[in-house]
Amino acid sequence: DVKVTQSSRYLVKRTGEKVFLECVQDMDHENMFWYRQDPGLGLRLIYFSYDVKMKEKGDIPEGYSVSREKKERFSLILESASTNQTSMYLCASKRSGGHGGYTFGSGTRLTVV
């Protein structure tokens, strides 16, 4: 019973390409998040969204944008991929309020060559 689905497990893209990473959740959560995971740096927040069409920058938004046209879908866009964006990308969702933790997707391993 997968609840947060990331469309690709592995992606290889060329420098300069526009890259779309898709995330869908079926739990009717209001909040959705994009993180990247790098060795020694942990998980760093790129962008998050607290409602449809609403978005907020995280700690490392440079080089990224996001789109949330529907409640269940949150897309991360790399406008012009660079090699330093090679990373594991993790999408998560959370219901508003309460102390609940995130539900994460399985991640997308992106390699930019």
């Binding site: 740096l41 998980l43 607290y50 994460f104 399985s106 991640g107």
Partner: protein, 116 residues
Amino acid sequence: DQQVKQNSPSLSVQEGRISILNCDYTNSMFDYFLWYKKYPAEGPTFLISISSIKDKNEDGRFTVFLNKSAKHLSLHIVPSQPGDSAVYFCAARLNAGGTSYGKLTFGQGTILTVHP
């Protein structure tokens, strides 16, 4: 500016013994702390949490301790099992009066290896 730090990149313990994973934070406005466990090629999964108004929370083999004065929390796993081998992340939530939307700040992670 790393507000949540896990200073031990790795920890190795024998099966049946105690595993202690540590986490330090700098922001006194964090009001909720969580531990996540991550296996390779999978997303992190929630393990256990603690509110800043408590100093201990227990769930089976897992116990989290919070020392607010020291800005330190730890995760104890007793007894450790080989299946516990994974990366463990601590995370903290900022109390920003409802505007934080529950976003979490994560530490760097600690790789736990439990040997049979």
